[in-house]
């Protein structure tokens, strides 16, 4: 594999972000412009004089990656340079679903020719595991800590797939770093569409989730096998493909190996949250027909 994203970057051992990034860049054969908002990926890869990037890369601020990408797209069109490559955003879940959601909506709405990839590690992990709109219920983050009264995050994970679909953009999908060939296929498929594309990739965080550094892929797989993270693919608003699950696992199997959920097994409200998570998984399985 040619090094579009080189070794020597500052990711933690077992970090899933480079897996996602390398597979996306590989699928595009490095023919792309990368926009990256502030966050884990930016910090591990873009220190002055030590850039890991072998493709043109820009980081502006936290909440504007979609707009910066729109600007690159506009400039390439105006300057007759569209053939140079695709415009790709790699953004974290906080940058995507919280602080940058306005710019993202604008980019989707204008349907810029941009592939927007949300690297979903389910909290602000760069700053040390604070809850985001994509943090799942019950997760113990530093801003939704499990305490005597509260059992971690209250409320559901924001449905950014529905958000993307509501903008009628041509391609929307989810993926997990547990399935890199699926990521590569989806990226190749996505860029066949002219307009805005959204792929949300589940990227476990070793430190924030409290998992062993050799369990990243195992956890990323369990999220899918429990149906908590359904792998879906939409083209022009139609659900065209889902990743089927052979024998769906109970959510406890996924929860118990992560420090962020461990309190649920002894907290007075833990049982309630686990039941809620199981209900969400069951709904996903039913809604997308995940069970084989």
């Amino acid at each position: 594999m040619k090094f579009f994203f080189s070794s020597g970057h500052g990711a933690c051992p077992g970090c899933s972000l480079p897996i996602a990034v390398k597979n996306v860049l590989y699928a595009l054969e490095g023919k792309c412009f990368v926009v990256n908002p502030t966050g884990c990926l930016e910090i591990i890869s873009s220190q002055y004089d030590r850039s890991a990037w072998g493709v043109p890369y820009i980081h502006s601020v936290f909440e504007n990656a979609a707009a910066v990408a729109a600007g690159i797209d506009a400039a390439l069109k105006a300057l007759g340079r569209k053939d140079e490559g695709h415009v790709v955003v790699f953004a974290g879940d906080g940058a995507t679903a919280d602080i940058g959601v306005g710019c993202l909506s604008g980019m989707f709405d204008r349907n810029h020719d941009v592939l927007y990839i949300c690297l979903d590690n389910e909290a602000y992990q760069n700053t040390g595991n604070q809850q985001s709109g994509l943090t799942p219920p019950g997760s113990n983050t530093t801003t939704t800590p499990a305490g005597k009264i509260l059992p971690g995050k209250i409320g559901r994970k924001k449905d950014m797939v529905a958000f993307a679909l509501a903008h009628k953009i041509p391609y929307v999908a989810t993926a997990s770093v547990a399935y890199p060939t699926d990521i590569r296929r989806k990226v190749k498929r996505a860029v066949e569409f002219e307009g805005a594309k959204y792929i949300q990739i589940l990227c476990p965080c070793v430190t924030g989730w409290g998992i062993n550094s050799n369990e990243t892929i195992k956890v990323a797989k369990l999220a899918v096998e429990t149906a908590l993270y359904p792998i879906v693919e939409y083209e022009n608003g139609e659900l065209v493909r889902v990743r089927k699950i052979k024998e769906r696992k109970p959510v406890e199997e996924y929860l118990k190996i992560q420090r962020r959920f461990r309190h649920l097994f002894k907290h007075p409200k833990g049982k309630e949250i686990i039941e809620e998570l199981q209900r969400i998984a069951d709904e996903n399985a039913k809604r997308f027909g995940l069970d084989e």
Binding site: W53, I58, V61, A78, L79, E84
Partner: protein
């Protein structure tokens, strides 16, 4: 050139078109909206060649889109003011640090609260330290002329900084004035196509917007300051070239009238300069040794120029269109710091016309006379304020 009676927003929109921008972003805000509306009409009629006109979802988005476009090598334009400028501010600081020569028109408007759509300079003053060139224009011809010059200065390889052309909202944007409209050939001969020294391209992949740990951050700030200081010389050269090309000489970083033997210097920026000049001329007729200093470039600040013209004056009267709350007017603050140790004049600064309050001729005359006659204390004053009672006290 054709002389036409046009409104300010058209004068700048037309000049922007002649500069052949590649990407224009629009987001409406009073009283700027008509600038981007005029550009939209030109775009809809196919008059903007090889240009993308984008309706952003906010001013924040508009500035961000231009960051991406400018970094990719496109000549860019947007216009905003007031809350819109403040909303853009995070991105504009970032654009300056990345050395992106985005050109913007600021239709100067006051800031909320209380909400006011009318003119003062509080909005652009809030961007003072962002490493963005700020030029204030006096009338619509100067606004029209400043657009090609702004691109030429901002895109100069020794500068590479964002540029704000500040024109008073309503007072200029919506005023009808005769303007000699530039011709395409003239602008083409003056302004070459934008060809940045570095850009985002797959042919030579570069990293823009890196993060800099303490061992290298400071050097980036040093080069920003150097670029600002180099801009002074570049601006003088471009202003001179413009005067030779068009026959319209707007001056340098400052422009002066009657300053050769002046005992009292009156300092102003923007559209109020026209009125102040008339008052100065009247006072000259009355035998008073008064002169006018129009500050054109607020950033970079014309330190050396002011030291030179203020060397022998006894009084300095500054008309402020903004306040640095807790201190005084921003122009006087900078003026005093520039003159410290170089001039012994008494400095009087008067905030006038905040939030679009009318600035009568008599008020200007009264302020200058009071300063000359020692009827007011040195320092900062609000003028043209009604009697009122404070509620929260």
């Amino acid at each position: 050139m054709v002389r036409k009676v046009v409104r300010g927003f058209y004068a700048v929109a037309y000049a922007v078109k002649l500069c052949r921008p590649s990407v224009i972003c629009a987001y409406p805000i009073t009283p700027q909206t008509e600038i981007v509306e005029n550009l939209a009409a030109m775009y809809a009629n196919g008059e903007l060649e090889n240009c993308q006109y984008i309706t952003a979802e906010s001013e924040f988005g508009a500035a961000s889109i231009l960051v991406g476009a400018s970094a990719t090598g496109a000549r860019t334009f947007t216009a905003t003011c007031s809350q819109g400028l403040i909303l853009m501010s995070e991105v504009l600081w970032n654009a300056a640090g990345m050395r992106l020569p985005i050109v913007m028109v600021i239709a100067n408007r006051s800031l909320s609260a209380p909400l006011s759509i009318w003119n003062d300079h509080q909005d652009s003053m809030a961007m003072r330290d962002a490493c963005i060139i700020q030029v204030y224009v006096e009338n619509n011809q100067e606004a029209h002329d400043m657009i090609p010059q702004a691109y030429k200065i901002a895109e100069n390889k020794e500068v590479m900084l964002p540029f704000m052309v500040c024109m008073d909202g309503y007072k200029l944007t919506h005023a009808y004035e005769p303007v000699d409209l530039l011709e395409q050939g003239m602008v083409d001969s003056f302004l070459p196509p934008y060809n940045p020294p570095i850009k985002l391209t797959t042919k030579d992949p570069l990293t823009f917007g890196c993060y800099a740990p303490p061992h290298c951050y400071m050097e980036f700030r040093v080069v920003m300051q150097r670029a600002m200081m180099r801009a002074k010389k570049v601006m003088e050269e471009v202003f001179k070239e413009w005067a030779e090309l068009t026959g319209r000489n707007w001056g340098g970083l400052i422009a002066t009238d009657y300053m050769d033997d002046a005992e009292t210097a009156v300092v102003a920026m923007g559209s109020v300069v026209g009125l102040v000049r008339e008052v100065v001329e009247e006072m000259r007729k009355d035998g008073k040794k008064v002169g006018l200093v129009k500050i054109r470039s607020f950033r970079p600040f014309p330190t050396e120029e002011l030291r030179k013209v203020m060397k022998d004056v006894e009084n300095i009267v500054v008309f402020e269109r903004a306040v640095s709350f807790g201190h005084e007017g921003p122009v006087a603050i900078d003026l005093k710091s520039a003159l410290f140790g170089h001039c012994n004049a008494k400095v009087y600064s008067f905030a006038v016309g905040l939030g679009g309050r009318d600035i009568p001729r008599d008020l200007i005359r009264k302020c200058i006379n009071n300063a000359i006659e020692g009827k007011v204390d040195e320092g900062f004053h609000f003028e043209g304020v009604k009697e009122f009672e404070e509620v929260i006290i």
